[in-house]
Symmetry: C2
């Protein structure tokens, strides 16, 4: 039977670049460009809570790293490296090999070397912890508390698909095979907006990545900045698989909740002065990434969403609370 050390050696010991000391010592070592700060984030992902037991291990490897890289993106940081904690109920080598493939493919894409970690046997379910490190100029990091009154509010990408796919897989809404196929990659293969985050440093005030739902995550920016906001519902970019659905295919409140409160999006929500509009549109075009202006920062506290008739939408859906049963 393979031991922990065989396992690490076999699947998680790819060579790392100069300047880094990878797994195989008590600590991993990495250097930082003088004058820059280290940005770091960690996420815990638990089977049955953050992913389904039968998830494709490649996509799980991808996503475990993606959700952390997304935090670096939201800070405007350049990835340096990462650590992986892996608790497994048993050794399934094919599973681990595929997980490692998905993880390394995304790590390579962003120059984020896996430099260390921890593996252990778990008694129940797969447990993952990923920690990422990046570097960023201290004064240019995109903070949550930097939104200014009259800033535009922007989001990258399109919304709603991950939530709909997740609810279909969980049996909360009826399974539609075509719709699942069209939305599933949003849930399982999110693309962290690293390039966008680095370009935003010079143009945006505040930024956050949307992991717990747009309203909730934007709410963190507003609370930290001591401001309010209004959004226009018709400006919210809905995933084409959802906006193209025939009427009554899904109840309108399910779609509204998916866009406004659906988690697991990993797009960026950011605020910038109106003078930055042309520059931001150019950045979006260059990256091939839709950037949508969805509302404005206001001095009055509160977050209001208006419909096309300019009425405030009441009873907005809430985002994800990690301690909700």
């Amino acid at each position: 039977m393979a031991t922990e050390f065989d396992l690490i050696k076999r699947f998680f010991s790819r060579p790392v670049s100069a300047g880094l000391l990878g797994g195989g010592d008590d600590c991993a070592l990495f250097g930082v460009t003088p004058g820059l700060q280290v940005a770091t984030s960690t996420d815990l992902l638990l089977e049955g809570r953050h992913f389904f037991s039968d998830v494709d291990p490649r996509s799980l490897g991808h996503k475990a790293l993606a959700v952390n890289l997304s935090d670096l993106a939201a800070m405007g940081a350049r990835p340096l490296g990462c650590l992986l904690g892996l608790g497994l109920p048993a050794i399934d080598e094919a599973w681990i090999e595929q997980f490692a493939e998905g993880f390394y493919a995304l790590a390579d894409q962003h120059g984020c070397a896996l430099i260390g970690g921890d593996t252990t046997r778990s008694l129940q379910g797969i447990t993952l912890s990923v920690t990422v490190f990046g570097e960023v100029e201290p004064n240019l990091a995109l903070r949550r508390n930097a939104a200014q009154v009259d800033d535009d509010i922007w989001v990258s990408g399109v919304f709603g698909a991950a939530d709909i796919a997740c609810r279909m897989l969980a049996g909360e809404i009826p399974l539609d095979a075509a719709l699942l196929q069209a939305t599933r990659s949003a849930l399982e293969w999110p693309a962290p907006r690293i390039d966008l985050g680095q370009q935003l440093r010079a143009h945006a005030h505040a930024a956050i990545d949307v992991s717990d739902g747009l309203l909730q995550d934007l709410g963190h920016i507003l609370a930290a900045s001591g401001v309010g906001a209004e959004l226009q519902e018709q400006l919210l970019p809905m995933h084409p698989a959802l906006s193209g659905l025939p009427q009554h295919a899904l109840p309108p409140e399910v779609l509204q909740r998916a866009v406004l409160a659906g988690g697991d999006v990993y797009e960026l929500c950011f605020t910038a002065a109106p003078a930055q509009r042309a520059a931001l549109e150019k950045i979006g075009s260059a990256l091939g990434l839709t950037l949508s202006r969805i509302g404005s920062v206001r001095a009055e506290p509160g977050l209001f969403v208006y419909d096309e008739a300019r009425n405030i939408i009441p009873d907005l859906p809430r985002g994800f609370d990690h301690f909700r049963p």
Copy 2:
């Protein structure tokens, strides 16, 4: 009912020093002294696997950080900060408060600020992940691959108590209340040897912390350095609660296994040239910490333990394999 955000705010949002950005943004930020490298390590601790369900939450908070600080110690790094991932089956505020107390007390002692993390509800059992950061001069970091032939092999502290306490609590050996009382703190309140690690940089060649058992962890140094070693059993420093036991209180093989293969020790094992003996003894005295010379590095591969009659002890016990059922 408290939400995730209430919980973070209430128990894990102590102010951090200047130069650090703590929890409450997508990433935590920290600075590094120019010219130094970042040393980092992460550990995953799972209920029922790494700690008992009824463990004192203060000691669990202490130990979750201690085992990671011990990796910084083994590298000779100075602690800078840490991240905490906390997966809890339910919100028990008294439990969390005590856990936070134990964690922060040790963090404060070593100037290792808690700068970020992740909290989530777990479906089964408590899940902890801790990541620590320190800084170290790249050329002085204590690597595993730096042992030299004829180096002395040293250990800090005393051995065996954590293993005996753990086996009593697990019901593997008979429970003796007095012995449990005398050994339990070694298991639940290990002291990371941060000060020793920093002083060793100028005197030791290779170092490791003993988490999986002395023979196994020393074996990692030997394998990485391409050398062998011999140890003298009578030089191994046994915890006084064990060396003072009446004969037959515990079978000799249980004591031998506790010392040679018992995990969870968090003392340092290191190698240094014989010319360093006086300097190392002085360091031990100044720190009030027993440093014991237990053997020597040899060119011939293999790790041999000799008894007082100068016979090689056969069938040595193995250390902890994280994937053993």
